[in-house]
Symmetry: C2
Subunit: 311 residues, 2 copies
Amino acid sequence: MTADPLPSWNDCAAKRGIVSFLAHVTDDASPGFVPLPERVAVFDNDGTLWPENPIPFQAAFGFHELCRRVAAEPELSASPMVQAALAGDFGALVADGYAGLREVIALSHAEITTDAFRDAVETWLAAARHPRFGRRYDDLTYQPMRELLRLLDDAGFKNFIVSGGGADFMRVWVERVYGIPHERVVGSAGRASFALRDGVPVLTKSLDHLFVNDKEAKPAGIHQFIGRRPVICCGNSDGDHAMLQYTTIGNPRPSFGLIVHHTDAEREYAYDAVTKSTGKLVAALAEAPGRGWQVVDMKRDWNTVFGPAGS
Amino acid sequence: MTADPLPSWNDCAAKRGIVSFLAHVTDDASPGFVPLPERVAVFDNDGTLWPENPIPFQAAFGFHELCRRVAAEPELSASPMVQAALAGDFGALVADGYAGLREVIALSHAEITTDAFRDAVETWLAAARHPRFGRRYDDLTYQPMRELLRLLDDAGFKNFIVSGGGADFMRVWVERVYGIPHERVVGSAGRASFALRDGVPVLTKSLDHLFVNDKEAKPAGIHQFIGRRPVICCGNSDGDHAMLQYTTIGNPRPSFGLIVHHTDAEREYAYDAVTKSTGKLVAALAEAPGRGWQVVDMKRDWNTVFGPAGS
């Protein structure tokens, strides 16, 4: 008898579904056999592999950096948008076509070298603690999903992150935490610029040609970075709706869609149509039964959410 | 005695250099040991892995598609830029900030679904023959470079294409020809758009936010797609100069730069400062000795260029 590869999952339709799907697509005598190069699985990150409450973790980083910069350069606080951010008025930031949000994000995510940005993320990760759980942010990934990543990896799948989060932000920690190499991270990004500074190569971040990898942009990002249609897609919100459709509708290969439904206010958070952060889930949830997408009821289907600290 | 892993290479500094570099970086007792996740090698394509004469192969495809479209839609030939392209007047196309070239490229590379584009490339590849060599274009890759790709793969390196060519164009054939998976192709690309058409997902190509992966954009493309600094970089022109610098200058890991110098008019082509196609090589060649970049003299250093047909 083989050990259960998904011990943090209770017996449920999603667990049975993925196990039987993998048996089907990896059996070269099966009509649904998927050759190795086509075994592509895509995962949203915020709300799918780690929480997005009380605010997306990258926003917590950005806010921390903003406070640090304003402390050092008080003249920055003359900007109404910086004032809005410091007051937590996100409504003001996203009015007027996200101009305010863009201005505030630029203060931590642009005109900085890629090396300095990586160092800033590492410094923040080492010191910051989640306000509710009191743990490092990168110690709060979902144990059941880490088990799923491992199971897919063992089945010859390539796991990719396809997230609205910044690629540069995620690459600092995804390899260590998920075992996913840098080139399998598809995220939001502006174009960096290259120059020799004092004879040494530097790349400087910018928000130019910003690619926001969310909603309908996710299939486009998958095409641009991965160049193949996935056969497995895991998400948690309407931001993942288009990539769930792209993965499962009319795919000549067998396909598998999964939605993490946040139903566990006690151990994590409970939200779908109404959310205080990101992660609104209405349209994708309504479409799930008809498409055969598995909906994970976090409270019912997962016996563990985070696992012990440092696991 | 081990078989020579690079039999198409004569004994030369570049060959000795790469073999000794690999021994150094894969020996975990060596101070220059490079851990597996950091073994990233980047290769230009046009002029480095296959020829770029008499015109870049993708331009041959584009011209073929243009003729096909004009035959079916003669009204297209009313455009002065289409007339210039049909007359081979590339000067007119690149005047005025490449506006003409962009218009002509759009006729074959935009407002077409990604699936239809892939089919068009496959159809062209199957029928087209190189005007001088009379062989399929994808049967004209350099055998010595295919041996090098294989040697690096065996040494635990991930090989990436980093080319000014279109990612969608290259992904049709690179896996079959080089053994390089789709997600390791960094190329020029516009943003595709996603929609359900009659209930079926389609991605439509566009030239919006066109990323031209050449010169200083190559290190930026490497950062955006690969997210790691390479330790090996192979190119052939000043278009690869910036990525050679990014790979080798101030890299905390050992690094290796290589330039394919086209010196063989008899078996292939001979050009550097003056070229009838792309591939101008002046600045990178001048910098090579000081940086320790190996320069391959194609005529002297390669005993085979293409190998037998269908190899």
